[in-house]
Subunit: 249 residues, 2 copies
DNA sequence: TGGTGGCGTTCCACTCAGCGGTACGCTCTT
DNA sequence: AAGAGCGTACCGCTGAGTGGAACGCCACCA
């Protein structure tokens, strides 16, 4: 069922036509990606510009700062982010490696924050970006604290092999998840991107079972070993967890 | 001219009905704020939920994570933010006070980043939030490097008196702006919020005149003095400026 | 130099998506 | 039990939205 016979559908189609990598798209490209009629795309895009969701440049259209602002009003992620920031800062300062804050959405991780210095490893993750759960430390640790069925859904589904090290055997992956629950941290060793290692710990709800989010520290093979940072990550996540709990009543 | 006889206009009205402070709004409240017919608001809000721009909760609607993600694809602010992060980190680490990155939009500042630790002063600024230019350090320094007419437009317009210390005399303000150009930094002393002091420096384009953004360090009256941090802020802003310049060819 | 293809823009008559008034059912409070 | 406030559902009218067609404008190439 196509939902692009409503104006809103068309507008969304245009906005979503912008991939994570695209900065500016010409009208013709939007037409190609959305399948809209040229006239229609022209008008809708014009309306979006009028409403400050798109910017018009010489070379085409671009997601605007208005959208940026609007997105940052999203309450759930925003309050989590604001409360988490000080803990992420501490963690960064202690490790001087790239620090992530992420939440799970289905079989993917959405990154709410990524902070790093000048020497940070070149990672594909970006604030607001997504990665599969099964090949990232944050993903694994969140999966480990997810409901039975949700976990099973991912384990039985097809698992993308992103690198030669990606764990795609359901049995091994499940064992890693169980170990993550036991130890309170999950690891990733070049499973999403060659040359990158990562430790993550869950930010648990007061029930101590389910996870709201997860925090990780990531670094490059060579100078970086994840194990020594396990405690720091665990501590940061736990501290954030109790801050959230305290606040929630 | 009301632009809410287009569907998109109505949708935007609903999205913009969410103020910076609102987390969840019931349908009735949306109706009140937007002036839409109840039936219409109900349907449009439903469509927005369907398109993942709103979340439905027991108590009403909420800006969704989908919007958060979409907003972070806005290319201009995103790349600026990513490039700036390491410099902001360094600055935070050196000062351990709240660090801001902001751009100017008309007579207001939009904050792209705010990083701080556990002891950060309670400030009204938020990532993605806005403040007037004339009573913030970032605002002043950006105004100082803006075009003549734009600067004049703000100076001649009415200036909100946010605190007893807010500078609303156009003459004094203009002198502060000139000094900011000379010295490369602008100060704010409890002009936007009682108890807060701030230093800001501009991130200049290669032309050395106009500013892309500005960086600031803020702290509370008492333990914090802005002057000693002027050099650090200036250095961070300059370093980011040359990084941008290098990248732009 | 003239042809060609891709692009953004404009126009316009048709039509169905969207409209909003009305009515209903639920849950609180009084 | 009556009322107020809320979310939801219905439905006939209509103009906002549609998309095909046509236009003018480069940039590229033969």
């Amino acid at each position: 069922m196509e939902d692009s016979n409503t104006v809103l559908g068309k507008a969304m189609a245009i906005l979503r036509a912008f991939g994570p990598a695209d900065s500016v798209l010409p009208l013709a490209e939007l037409v190609r990606r959305t399948g809209l009629a040229k006239g229609t795309a022209h008008r809708v895009a014009g309306d979006l510009v009028h409403h400050r969701l798109l910017d018009r440049t010489d070379h085409g259209y671009r997601l605007s700062g208005g959208l940026f602002e609007l997105g940052l009003r999203a309450s759930a992620e925003r309050t989590l982010l604001e409360l988490a920031m000080p803990f992420l800062q501490d963690l960064y300062e202690r490790t001087h490696e790239t620090v992530h804050l992420g939440v799970r959405e289905g079989h993917e991780v959405v990154y709410l924050a990524k902070i790093g210095g000048h020497r940070q490893a070149r990672a594909p993750s970006r604030t607001g970006g997504r990665m599969p759960t099964h090949c990232t430390a944050i993903g694994k640790v969140l999966l480990a604290h997810a409901g039975e069925e949700e976990q099973a859904a991912v384990l039985t589904g097809p698992l993308e092999r992103r690198t030669p090290h990606t764990v795609i055997a359901p049995g091994l992956l499940r064992r890693q998840l169980m170990k993550a629950v036991e130890t309170g941290v999950a690891y990733e060793r070049e499973e999403s991107t060659p040359g990158l290692l990562c430790v993550a710990a869950p930010v648990l709800r007061p029930d101590g079972q389910t996870a709201v989010a997860a925090i990780s520290v990531m670094g490059p093979v060579g100078r970086f070993r994840p194990e020594p940072h396990a405690n720091a990550v665990r501590a940061a996540a736990a501290a954030l967890g109790s801050t959230l709990a305290r606040r929630h009543r």
